[in-house]
């Protein structure tokens, strides 16, 4: 990584035209990916990402440059470029970086390089075999293995100087069921802030069966009805509704620009009383957890909504400066190629008191969206859209047959008021969240929830 003296020099150079703040982020990342498709190891690729990003603030204006030539000459040239993008009055002549040891609560037991590649591949094959054994309808299985070790160094003109190591393990499996020219998919992608012990904790047979079962069920399913109905959104990945429709609008990225429906709603009722939502970076070894954020701030457990009332945004340094609030340790970025901005960590709706059975029993005609697909939200308006990847019809208070091809569409701010029941079965689900500062590991999560009315786009009239 880079020596303290050079970092101090680079920071001073970046401030030389009177900037208010300067920061250097250095990254050295090792990543390895293996893909098993068609019963064969199709890809095995590993590599090293290495570079630095330099950022300065002039007021609330941010200037960012990155380079992966980390020679003194090149770093100083990049620092010079950012400093000259504007001019300010600030005069800083000396920076003393205070090296601070970061103690991570996320313990790692088995480093990836202690395990042979053959063992990793054997684990993948077990998932593949199990999915194929589950049903003759399974025509394809795709298993993807990921390990990643990201070492970072963060230094800024306020004297912060910290190093951190983030370790990620993930296994994603997809299966395709096909019959008479039609195909449907099932998938799951668990992951953690852990070493190889994570893969040892996963039962490959069960994972294979799970993704095969989902694909088979959806292949044999009828098309979903369309219209406005009550919907039960299942636990775990169902939390994507909150993540997409509300979570992004609670990041300062949107709030500071007034491009969020929640911008002026602090301490106001924005959701039904049964809704409490939390963004938590402190859960040990959870996929979206952090120790410090990418600006060097310690991570937090941030209560966003308490009993329906908006309590906090997710705040990074620059966003905090713009809206006059303290950082919540939410400054994140995919890599040195991105300037950090406020991002989610593990964002979930807290468990409530309702029983799942009571929730189903309360519906005459509706949908149980057991598993959601991905989604997107239009920033500014909060309009969202996401797919149901495993759905069931509810009739007269009972779950009946599986249905497919449905989409939920609505508006984040409005839907929060329509959540009327929250169950006890909180579960997290791992994913990659994409935004202006790239794709970062994040968990969505929730217990099963009931939304009284939402537009379901399907292929059939009710």
């Amino acid at each position: 990584m880079i020596k303290k003296m050079l970092l101090e020099k680079v920071l001073l150079k970046a401030l030389s035209n009177g900037a208010d703040f300067a920061e250097v982020f250095v990254e050295d990342t090792f990543e390895s990916k293996i893909q098993l498709l068609d019963r064969k190891i199709k890809n095995s690729i590993e590599g090293n990402d290495f570079g630095a990003g330099i950022r300065v603030f002039y007021g609330t204006k941010a200037i960012y440059a990155f380079t992966n030539n980390l020679s003194e000459k090149s770093l100083l040239a990049a620092a010079d470029a950012v400093s000259k993008a504007d001019a300010g009055k600030n005069e800083i002549l000396k920076i003393d970086l205070m090296s601070e040891k970061v103690i991570s609560p996320h313990k790692i037991k088995i480093p990836f390089d202690e395990i042979s590649k053959s063992e990793k591949i054997d684990f993948m094959r077990k998932i593949d075999n199990s999915a194929r054994r589950y049903s003759e309808l399974i025509s394809q299985v795709n298993v993807n293995y990921l390990e990643k070790v990201q070492k970072v160094q963060i230094a800024n003109s306020e004297g912060v100087f910290k190093s951190d190591e983030r370790i990620y393990a993930r296994i994603a499996a997809y299966s395709i069921a096909s019959k008479n020219g039609e195909m449907q998919t099932g998938g799951d992608g668990p992951g953690a802030f852990k070493g190889y012990e994570f893969f040892k904790s996963i039962n490959p047979q069960k994972l294979g069966e799970k993704v095969a079962e989902q694909a088979k069920k959806m292949l044999l399913a009828d098309y979903a009805p369309s219209g406005k109905f009550p919907v039960i959104i299942g636990n775990g990945f169902g939390g994507v509704i909150f993540h997409e429709a509300c979570g992004h609008s609670l990041e300062t990225t949107g709030v500071a620009k007034g491009a969020s429906v929640f911008a002026d709603k602090m301490n106001k009722q924005i959701a039904n009383k049964c809704v409490t939502a939390i963004d938590d970076g402190t859960v040990p070894n959870l996929w979206g957890s952090t120790t410090i954020d990418d600006e060097g701030n310690p991570t937090q457990r941030t209560i966003l909504i308490k009993n329906g009332i908006l309590k906090s945004f997710m705040i990074d340094k620059l966003g905090g400066k713009k809206i006059g609030m303290e950082s919540t340790g939410s400054g994140r970025r995919q890599s040195y190629k991105f300037a950090p901005t406020s991002r989610m960590r593990n964002t979930y709706i807290a468990p409530g008191n309702d029983k799942f059975e009571d929730m189903i029993a309360s519906i005459d005609f509706g949908i149980y969206a057991k598993k959601m697909g991905g989604g997107s939200v239009l920033p500014g308006t909060g309009d969202f859209n996401f797919a149901i990847s495993e759905g069931y019809l509810i009739k007269n208070g009972k779950i009946t047959k599986p249905v497919r091809g449905a989409t939920l569409i609505g508006n984040g701010a409005k839907i929060l008021h329509k959540i009327s029941m929250v169950s006890t079965d909180l579960k997290y689900s791992e994913g990659m969240c994409g935004s202006v500062s790239g794709a970062v590991p994040a968990c969505v999560g929730q217990p099963s929830i009931k939304v009284d009315e939402i537009i379901v786009g399907g292929r059939k009239e009710k």
Partner: protein
């Protein structure tokens, strides 16, 4: 450029007795500036290099990449690529070749773009934001806008003696604004990419984005049912983009595309032709060769409704006993895959007006949400949120929102009943004119 590093890699290969390999390097230099409330909000400069090595042992290709270009890192990368190759099981046949150059001279690097100074770009982005605001009082915010330029240098070499490089650049501008009417907020987005900064007209981009948001105000709900639907040119391109992978020979061979076995058969209505043209004048993906060094060409994918070709790289072509179409795609971090170049539905003969009055009633779609989640590229099924306009007898009646359109892409190709002559490319260089679909399910 990077001759020294490439020489070192060839030396390392020799020393380690690695005989079959290729090297792929890109260097990207980019700049962008954003404005918010007439102040510069952010600046970004980027300078990044990455190098990927593929080593082939027997039929198996292993990959590794690095962003450090010192000799030690290059050696580690070479060794890792070789190790990875040892685990790969494949019946692919990879043969490197020293492919010839194309004859045509492409104009893909425009030195003038690099000469425009930062100050001019700042003026441009501010004017763009201002033009959106000034267009109408209802425009309340222009939260996302940018002016920028990108330069990309690509160099490829392989153990058969191929060594080629090219550099391309482009300038762009985009604005996304929010318009408010009563309690309703609508957004509008407009962009332009060009080989010339002077063609990035700030006023036009700002005003067009404003117009697009304003037009959608006062939207009504629409009754569920079956309607003829027009995808305007931008949405046509986005939907084609979402499903473009079905044309990849790799997807076909892997059993991930329903176009398997459909070559030379009718898969779309007679009026539909789709082309992939890496030589297109002013195309954003125009290039002299693909990411294996294979010379660029123009490929007819669908001619008058009949599927003529898949998109091939040299590996899928060998498997199908045909020739590559020059569609190898790769980044230094990825394996060689297939990607379209300038990929588009060809212009038809109808004016936009003709499309609106084709049926007594129809819905025009101008915005789609949830494309990446609501579309299943394998089954072709889609169900996505949409906004647009309702037409009667060729006349725009009112904007419509809060509905989903659902259908199947393979059926959609058969149901294209008329095609406009307003071809436009999106930022991923996938293009379409406005297209009229006989019938689609709408649920509101």
């Amino acid at each position: 450029m990077f001759d020294k590093e490439f020489e070192q890699i060839f030396d390392i290969a020799k020393k380690k007795n690695i005989q079959k390999f290729d090297v792929f390097l890109t260097q990207e230099n980019s700049f962008s500036v954003k404005s918010f409330r007439q102040k510069v909000e952010s600046f970004k400069y980027a300078d990044s290099i990455g190098l990927g090595i593929r080593v082939v042992i027997g039929n198996s290709a292993g990959y590794a990449y690095t962003e450090k270009l010192d000799k030690q890192s290059l050696e580690t990368t070479m060794v890792k690529a070789k190790e990875n190759a040892e685990y790969i099981e494949t019946d692919d046949i990879i043969e490197f070749e020293n492919y010839p150059d194309i004859e045509k001279k492409l104009e893909i690097f425009h030195p003038e773009i690099e000469k425009v100074n930062v100050k001019e770009k700042i003026e441009k982005v501010k004017l763009m934001e201002k033009s959106a605001h000034n267009f109408d009082k209802k425009v309340v915010n222009v939260p996302y806008n940018s002016i920028g330029n990108d330069k990309m240098f690509t160099k490829i070499a392989n153990s058969k003696g191929l060594q080629k490089e090219y550099v391309g650049n482009a300038a762009y501008g985009y604005a996304m604004c929010l318009a408010q009417g009563g309690k309703e907020t609508k957004s509008g987005y407009f962009y332009k990419i060009s080989d010339d900064f002077s063609k990035i007209n700030s006023k036009e981009i700002g005003e067009e984005s404003a117009k697009k948001a304003l037009e959608l105000l006062g939207a009504q709900e629409i009754k569920s049912g079956k309607y003829p639907v027009i995808f305007n040119n931008e949405m046509g391109a986005d939907i084609l983009s979402t499903f473009s992978n079905i044309f990849s020979a790799k997807a076909v061979q892997d059993g991930l595309s329903l176009l398997k076995g459909k070559l030379k058969s009718k898969i779309a209505n007679d009026i539909v032709s789709i082309s992939d043209d890496a030589l297109l004048k002013n195309g954003f993906s125009t290039r002299p060769f693909d990411d294996e060094g294979y010379p660029s060409q123009t490929t007819e994918i669908i001619s008058n409704g009949t599927l003529q070709s898949y998109l091939h790289n040299s590996i899928t072509a060998k498997k199908d006993k045909t020739k590559s179409t020059g569609n190898a795609g790769r980044s230094y971090k990825s394996t060689v895959t297939i990607s379209p170049s300038n990929f588009f539905i060809k212009n038809g003969t109808s004016s936009e007006k003709d499309l609106y009055k084709f049926y007594p009633k129809c819905v025009e779609i101008v915005s789609l949400s949830g494309l990446h989640s609501g579309c299943n590229s394998i089954s072709g099924d889609f169900s996505i949120g949409a906004e647009g306009f309702y037409y009667e007898n060729g006349e725009r009646k009112y904007p419509v929102h809060n509905f989903t359109i659902s259908g199947n892409f393979f059926q959609l190709l058969q149901n294209i009943i008329a095609i406009g002559n307003n071809l436009k490319f999106n930022m991923n260089s996938i293009g379409s004119p406005s297209i009229l679909i006989k019938t689609m399910d709408i649920s509101g």
